[in-house]
Point group: C2
Chain length 183, copies 2
């Protein structure tokens, strides 16, 4: 499954803008994300990600492939639900994977015209909006859709960096949004 996604920094009135546009509140989730690096290749360079996400509905293991285009964050995403995050973390450790970061956030999810709007309050980073769609074959169509929704919400500066990368950039003292794209 390809996850078609754009992300932007969210202004203070983001929730109001979403509701005004007609977005419907779906859920509020607390995410505790554990990111792992591979012993084979540096996932920062290869633009891949391996993550255990622990949230209210249970835990999941997710692999994300490299981003597929220069404008969005679209990429292959494979996910399995797991019943025990600690055991999974231990298994990954024995297989040579190294815990590289933890990201905690509160995600408020809205549904709007077949896409998901995820308003994230990320610990240490602030507020972001992710507009997400899933695609099997019609990737271009979904890509146009998420970019259009971002525009409708008045956001014109998309960010391709992951929260993991943004936290790393913050730690290293880099200012401003990295790898932003004018859309």
């Amino acid at each position: 499954m390809i996850e078609v996604e754009v992300k932007a920094r969210a202004p203070e009135d983001m929730a109001e803008r979403i509701v005004s546009l007609g977005g419907e509140l779906m859920a509020v989730e607390n995410h505790h994300d554990l990111y792992f690096n591979s012993p084979l290749r540096d996932f920062k360079r290869s633009d891949e990600a391996l993550r255990i996400r622990i949230k209210e509905g249970g835990a999941r293991l997710t692999y994300k492939g490299p981003k597929l285009d220069p404008l969005t964050k679209s990429r292959l995403e494979l996910t399995v639900k797991i019943d025990d995050a600690l055991q999974m973390e231990e298994i990954l450790g024995h297989l040579g994977f190294v815990l590289s970061a933890r990201v905690r956030k509160q995600r408020t999810k809205y549904s709007y015209q077949g896409v998901v709007l995820a308003l994230d309050e990320v610990e240490g980073l602030g507020s972001f909006l992710e507009v997400e769609a899933q695609a099997e074959e019609d990737i271009d169509l979904q890509r146009q859709k998420v970019l259009l929704v971002l525009e409708q919400l008045g956001l014109c500066q998309s960010i391709r960096s992951s929260y993991l990368e943004l936290l790393e950039e913050k730690r290293l003292g880099h200012a401003g949004p990295a790898r932003g794209e004018q859309i």
Copy 2:
């Protein structure tokens, strides 16, 4: 969790012997096991295993560490239930793991004095009995227990090779049980 385990070839009357001794039938399961090798080190040499097991009750991912003693198959075993074996197989593929073998078997499970007796009919190999206990700290005690039960069942030749290894030995034309230990 340490899985304390001994295995032996099972004679034809094995089920009768178990029931005569007082073993209680727990379940009959069909296992389809997918074994993966690591891109970092050959799991055959390091005596580790990574397996997806698909059975009636759902799928599981299991890592097994190297065997801990020369007489039994006791080893670290870490397992998570997963909701999608195909996605897990795809994730492992992207992480560099290679499918090395498939093992299919029917397992009839009995309970007897706190241990599990697993009578396995393995496709291409025949019948085996595994006597299994799980231990946190009392590994020696559990080891004595599973060896005693094996003896009570009239089996004196334990096998330390996995089904995977036995299938590989068969494929290479090696005769007889490998790495058997007189107990």
